[in-house]
C-alpha cells in the first residue's frame, strides 16, 4: 500500500484510496455506535439493579437474579398493569389491523384497476390526507368521538387507526405497477365477476403489499401515543406506550415525590423493552418486504 503518498494513485483505483476509505469507514462506525449503543444499553440495563446501573460499567451484564427481581417489581406495579397494557395494545393493534386490511386493499385495488366516477378526486384526497399530520386532528377527533359518546371505548382509537390513506396509496401503486390490467380484462372476458376477479386474480398477487400495509399500520398503531393518551385516559385501558410513559412519573430519580410504589430505573428499562418487543419481532421478519415497499414509488415508470 502506498502509505507514504496515498493521494497520488487515488483517482484510478478506489481500492488504493486509503485515507478517504478510512474516513468513510470511521463515519459509518461512529453512526453504528450511535444507532446501536442505546439499544444494547437498554437490553443490559434490564438485567441490573439500580445500584449497578449507577456505579457499574454501563456495558456490563447484570445477573439473572436482578432481571427476575426487576420483572417481579414491574409486574407487581399496580397489580400487573404492564401485562394488561400489553394485552390492550395487542387487542387494539390486531383489530385495527384486520379492519385496515379489509378496507385498504380493496380500495387501493379499485383505484388502480377499475374505473368509476370520482376515482380521480378520491385519489387526490387520499394523497393530501396522507401527507397531513395525524396528530393535528387529535383534538378535533376527540370532539367528534365525544359527540357520539365513544370516549373511553376502544373503538375511539381502533376506528381512527383503521383509516390508513398511506396504505391505500401503497396498494394503489403496487397494483398499478405490478399487475397488468390485461390479466384482469382476460378474466372478465372469461365471465369472471368483479368480486371473482379481485378474489381469484388480484388478491393472490397482492401478498407482498398486504404484508407491507399490515406491517406499517401495525407499527404506526403500536407506537401511537397522542391519540390513546387523549381518548383512553383510564390506566386499565391504556395501550403499553402510554402506560410505560405513565411509569415515568413513578420513577424516583426523575420525580423525587414518589413514595413507596416507586419504579426503579432498571424496571423502567425493562418496561420499555417489553413495549418494543412485538414491533422488534415483526421488524426482523418483515425486513425483506419493507425495503421493497418503501421503494414502491421508485419502481413506478
Amino acid at each position: 500500500m502506498s502509505r507514504t503518498n496515498p493521494q497520488a494513485p487515488a483517482r484510478r483505483r478506489p481500492t488504493r484510496n486509503l485515507v478517504p476509505r478510512l474516513l468513510s469507514g470511521s463515519v459509518l462506525v461512529v453512526f453504528l455506535v450511535f444507532f446501536v449503543l442505546p439499544v444494547i444499553w437498554l437490553v443490559l440495563a434490564a438485567t441490573k439493579t439500580d445500584q449497578q446501573l449507577v456505579h457499574g460499567n454501563p456495558l456490563s451484564i447484570g445477573s439473572w437474579h436482578a432481571f427476575k427481581a426487576n420483572w417481579d417489581a414491574l409486574s407487581g406495579f399496580q397489580d400487573n398493569a404492564i401485562m394488561q397494557w400489553l394485552g390492550n395494545s395487542t387487542l387494539y393493534a390486531v383489530i385495527s389491523l384486520v379492519i385496515t386490511l379489509c378496507v385498504t386493499i380493496p380500495a387501493g385495488y379499485a383505484l388502480a384497476m377499475t374505473e368509476f366516477r370520482g376515482r380521480h378526486s378520491l385519489l387526490v384526497a387520499t394523497l393530501v390526507v396522507m401527507l397531513m399530520p395525524t396528530a393535528t386532528l387529535v383534538v378535533p377527533l376527540f370532539l367528534e368521538v365525544n359527540a357520539v359518546h365513544l370516549i373511553g371505548s376502544m373503538w375511539s382509537i381502533i376506528l381512527p387507526y383503521s383509516f390508513y390513506p398511506f396504505g391505500v396509496y401503497l396498494t394503489y401503486i403496487y397494483f398499478s405497477t405490478a399487475v397488468p390490467k390485461d390479466l384482469l380484462a382476460a378474466a372478465r372476458m372469461d365471465g369472471c365477476t368483479e368480486i371473482g376477479v379481485f378474489r381469484h386474480i388480484a388478491l393472490p398477487l397482492a401478498t407482498p403489499v398486504i404484508a407491507l400495509v399490515g406491517f406499517f399500520s401495525f407499527v404506526a398503531n403500536w407506537t401511537n401515543y397522542f391519540l390513546p393518551y387523549v381518548m383512553l385516559p383510564e390506566s386499565s385501558q391504556m395501550p403499553i406506550q402510554v402506560g410505560v410513559g405513565s411509569l415515568l412519573s413513578n420513577v424516583p430519580s426523575f420525580n423525587p415525590a414518589v413514595g413507596t410504589t416507586a419504579i426503579e430505573r432498571p424496571q423502567l428499562a425493562l418496561a420499555t423493552l417489553v413495549a418494543i418487543t412485538p414491533v422488534l419481532v415483526v421488524f426482523l421478519f418483515a425486513q425483506r418486504f419493507l425495503v421493497s415497499g418503501m421503494l414502491a414509488g421508485a419502481t413506478k415508470e
Binding site: 444507532f35 444499553w41 376515482r119 394523497l127 396528530a135 370532539l143 421488524f283 425486513q287 421508485a298
Partner: protein
C-alpha cells in the same frame, strides 16, 4: 399531474362492462370512503367549525385565532417547533444522503447490508420508547456516554435538558428512530440509478465526490423532497417527546414546548376547545398547503 379522462371515452365503447366495473369499483372503495369521511374530512370540518365559533356556538370570526396567538406561550411554541424543524430537516438531509452514499460505495455487500439493518433497528423504538431510552442516555448518572457528556460540560440531568438544548435533543431522538428507514429508502433509490449512467461518469474520470455531487444527488432529488415533506409533517406534530420530558423533569423542561402540546392544554387543561381548534386549524392549513404544493408540483404522486 396528468388527468386522463378515460372513463368517459371507454364508457362510450363498452357501456355494459364499464358499468359493471364502475359499480364494483364503488363497492370496493365504499368502506374506505366511509372512514375517509369520518376520520379525515369530518374532524377537519369540526376543527374549522370550532375554530370560528365561541363556546356558545355562535360565529366569532378570527377571535379564537387572535386570543390563542396572544397567549404568552404561543409564539414561543411556534419558535420551538420552527427551530426543531430546521435542525431535524437539515440533519436528516445531510446525514441520510451522506450515509447512503457511503454505504453504497462499500465494496462488501454483507457489511453494507448489515449496517443498513443496524441503522434501522431503532425504528422499532418509535414513540414513547425512544424518549425513555434517550432520557437514560442523557442522564449523566447512568448514561453509557457520561464521559462524553461531562466533556461537553454536562454533569447533571438538569444541565442536559436546559431549555436551549431541547431542540437539539429532540432532533437527536427523532433522527435516531427515523433516519435508518430513510437510509434504506435512499440506498434503494441509489441502486435504481441506471448502471450506464454511473459507468459513463466513471469513464469521464469523475471521482467519488464528483459522481455523488453531480450525478447521484441530482438523481435522488425527488426522494429527498419526498423525505423532507413527510419529515416536515411528522416534525410539525411534535408531541410525545416534550410531553414525556416534562413528565420526567416534573414540568421543568418540555412543558408547553410544542404547538400540539398547546392544543392539548387549551382543550383539556384550560377548557378552551375553540382555542385548541384554532391552533389545530393553523397547523392543518400549513401542512395541507405544503402537501398540496408537493402533490401538484413534484410529479411524485402521479394521480393517474
Amino acid at each position: 399531474m396528468t388527468v386522463v379522462n378515460s372513463s368517459t371515452s371507454s364508457a362510450g365503447r363498452r357501456p355494459r362492462g364499464t358499468d359493471r366495473q364502475s359499480r364494483a369499483g364503488i363497492a370496493f372503495v365504499a368502506g374506505y370512503v366511509v372512514l375517509l369521511i369520518a376520520f379525515g374530512i369530518l374532524p377537519t370540518g369540526y376543527a374549522v367549525y370550532f375554530a370560528f365559533t365561541d363556546a356558545g356556538g355562535t360565529f366569532s370570526g378570527f377571535s379564537n385565532f387572535i386570543t390563542t396567538a396572544q397567549d404568552f406561550r404561543f409564539m414561543d411554541a411556534v419558535g420551538h417547533v420552527a427551530v426543531y424543524l430546521l435542525f431535524w430537516l437539515v440533519s436528516l438531509v445531510v446525514f441520510v444522503v451522506g450515509l447512503s452514499l457511503l454505504l453504497h460505495r462499500l465494496s462488501s455487500g454483507v457489511a453494507s447490508k448489515s449496517l443498513r439493518f443496524f441503522y434501522y433497528i431503532p425504528g422499532a423504538l418509535a414513540g414513547a420508547a425512544s424518549v425513555l431510552v434517550w432520557l437514560f442516555m442523557l442522564d449523566p448518572s447512568v448514561s453509557p456516554v457520561s464521559s462524553l457528556l461531562s466533556t461537553l460540560g454536562f454533569h447533571t440531568f438538569g444541565e442536559v435538558i436546559a431549555p436551549g438544548n431541547l431542540a437539539l435533543l429532540f432532533t437527536i431522538i427523532a433522527f435516531w428512530t427515523g433516519a435508518g428507514g430513510w437510509i434504506v429508502v435512499m440506498y434503494g433509490a441509489l441502486n435504481n440509478i441506471p448502471k450506464d449512467v454511473m459507468e459513463a461518469a466513471r469513464i469521464d474520470g469523475a471521482n467519488a465526490w464528483q459522481t455523488a455531487w453531480r450525478v447521484q444527488i441530482p438523481m435522488l432529488r425527488k426522494w429527498i423532497i419526498y423525505m423532507v415533506i413527510l419529515a416536515f409533517a411528522a416534525g410539525a406534530q411534535l408531541f410525545v417527546e416534550p410531553q414525556l420530558l416534562s413528565l420526567a423533569s416534573v414540568g421543568v423542561a418540555g412543558r408547553d414546548y410544542s404547538l400540539n402540546q398547546l392544543t392539548y392544554d387549551f382543550a383539556f387543561q384550560m377548557n378552551n376547545i375553540n382555542g385548541a381548534a384554532a391552533v389545530s386549524v393553523e397547523l392543518l392549513v400549513v401542512s395541507v398547503t405544503v402537501a398540496g404544493i408537493f402533490v401538484a408540483r413534484s410529479g411524485f404522486f402521479d394521480a393517474d
